[in-house]
């Protein structure tokens, strides 16, 4: 099937690549079908693209690639709708944002995928994680701040 996107043009995907978010995501309750696209230019990056809305896509990364010590703790009922047979197959992704200073990760509300069942959900993590965790870009910016 063809997925239309404003960022990447039209993309061919298999119907079984679709990931269903039964509740949508906060702010996007009407977006239920998504597809995960690898970014051709940056191996650390992927895009969670809405099938229903060509203009809606989230850049996502594996949070532990960027944030040492990020361990996700969520209430059991947050994961129940994802119907995992084995929790080890859970994919945890952080949505990438931007504020005026830097690239940010939403560590408070990561996206969890069960790719075997084609299900996804944005959950709320326990603990004091930020929805805008700022990433330090390079040694140069770090020096500037110091």
């Amino acid at each position: 099937m063809e997925v239309r996107t404003t960022r990447f043009g039209s993309i061919q995907v298999n119907a079984d690549d679709l990931i269903r978010f039964p509740e949508g995501l906060p702010g996007f309750a009407d977006c239920h079908d998504w597809v995960l696209l690898a970014d051709g230019k940056n191996a650390a990056l992927a895009w969670l693209q809405s099938v229903e809305r060509p203009d809606v896509a989230f850049a996502v990364v594996s949070p532990r690639r960027f944030v040492a010590g990020y361990r996700l703790h969520v209430a059991r009922q947050e994961l129940e709708p994802l119907r995992f047979d084995d929790l080890r197959s859970a994919r945890v992704l952080a949505i990438v944002g931007r504020n005026s200073r830097s690239i940010t990760l939403n560590l408070k509300a990561p996206v969890i995928l069960n790719l075997e069942r084609g299900l996804g959900r944005q959950v709320i993590a326990n603990g004091e994680w930020s929805v805008q965790h700022e990433l330090q870009t390079s040694v140069a910016t770090r020096k500037k701040i110091a």
Partner: protein, 82 residues
């Protein structure tokens, strides 16, 4: 808005399957117990709204705004290839 008075251990029921119980009252803090089907998300409102706002912003990020991501070093402690 409907306003109801309740005491500790009393409940209200919403529809036929959502039960909200006053578990404890201490000073200006009330602890609520919420029983709802798993398909009904229950969140602290301010947390949910912060996530909603952040999602709205993040959904507009374009690929050309994320070039710097490549320059971000891996988290310390991550095993490295040579």
């Amino acid at each position: 808005m409907l306003v109801l008075s309740r005491q500790r251990d009393e409940s209200i029921i919403i529809g036929d399957n959502i039960v909200v119980t006053i578990v404890d009252i201490r000073g200006d803090k009330v602890r609520l117990g919420i029983q709802a089907p798993t398909e009904i998300p229950v969140h602290r409102r301010e947390v949910f709204e912060a996530i909603q706002r952040e999602n709205m912003q993040a959904s507009r990020v374009q690929p050309n705004e994320l070039g710097e991501l490549k320059q971000i070093p891996p988290a310390p402690g991550l095993p490295k290839t040579r």
